[in-house]
């Protein structure tokens, strides 16, 4: 992502080696991503959601997420 935007600096932090950081950002599981030391999310998100989370964390309004695909319904049609 840092190669795609000149504004982004991406730092992979070894969580065990820097416990003061891990505590500061309340890291309980990995991967744990912190954006501008404010917003955060845990886990590996799909690309679209990752980008949306970064923009949102940077204070940029993002479009509504894609409509969820319709799955099996428990409703019984007449």
């Amino acid at each position: 992502m840092a190669l795609a935007s000149p504004q982004i600096k991406a730092v992979c932090v070894e969580a065990n080696e820097f416990p003061h950081y891990s505590n500061q950002f309340r890291v309980r599981g990995v991967p744990h991503t912190v954006i501008n030391r404010k917003a955060s999310f845990v886990g590996a998100l799909p690309e679209h959601d990752f980008v949306a989370a970064v923009l949102e964390g940077a204070g940029i309004a993002v479009e509504e997420p894609h409509e969820a695909p319709s799955g099996p319904s428990t409703e019984i049609s007449a």
Partner: protein, 154 residues
């Protein structure tokens, strides 16, 4: 004992020979000579020596493409401040003349080692791998944005 086995060195050399295209600049920020000392938290650097070996391994696998700059933050605090380095060891990966905005803070072993290799290869090929939609969305970023991704070796 070597940190990286000879077989891995050879594999890396062969892989870089076929995969790398453009120049890659690595910068290792370190505090040499403190790996054997027990110092208060934040002062010592138990993994700096291993990080140096790892950075040199990468450079030696493709010395015609990869350059390595070593910055001793205890001697060159000004450089560390300019580059916004707060902790060591940190390995920064840069594409060509770009500043190193892909960084690995701490020793990237285990599952982080392939991520480091991937970063070197992508920087060399200037290949982010994102969709056009994502690139267009990221173009909305007008201010410097920092991503800290916490990971563990296992």
């Amino acid at each position: 004992m070597a940190l990286i086995p000879e077989s891995v060195r050879q594999q890396l050399e062969d892989r870089f020979h076929t995969v790398l295209s453009g120049p890659v600049r690595l910068t290792l920020y370190t505090r040499p000579g403190s790996s054997r000392l027990i110092l208060p938290a934040g002062l010592g650097c138990p993994t700096c020596e291993d990080a140096r070996q790892m950075a040199e391994l990468l450079r030696d696998a493709a010395p015609e493409k990869i350059t390595l700059d070593v910055v001793d933050v205890s001697r060159d605090a000004a450089r560390a401040e300019i580059d916004e380095i707060t902790d060591v060891p940190t390995i920064a990966v840069a594409s060509g003349s770009d500043i190193g905005r892909i960084r690995f803070q701490g020793l990237p072993t285990g599952t982080e080692f392939p991520a480091l290799i991937d970063a070197v290869e992508r920087a060399s090929r200037v290949e982010h791998g994102l969709s056009l939609e994502s690139v267009e969305a990221l173009a909305k970023l007008t201010e410097p944005t920092e991503l800290l991704v916490f990971a563990t070796p296992t």
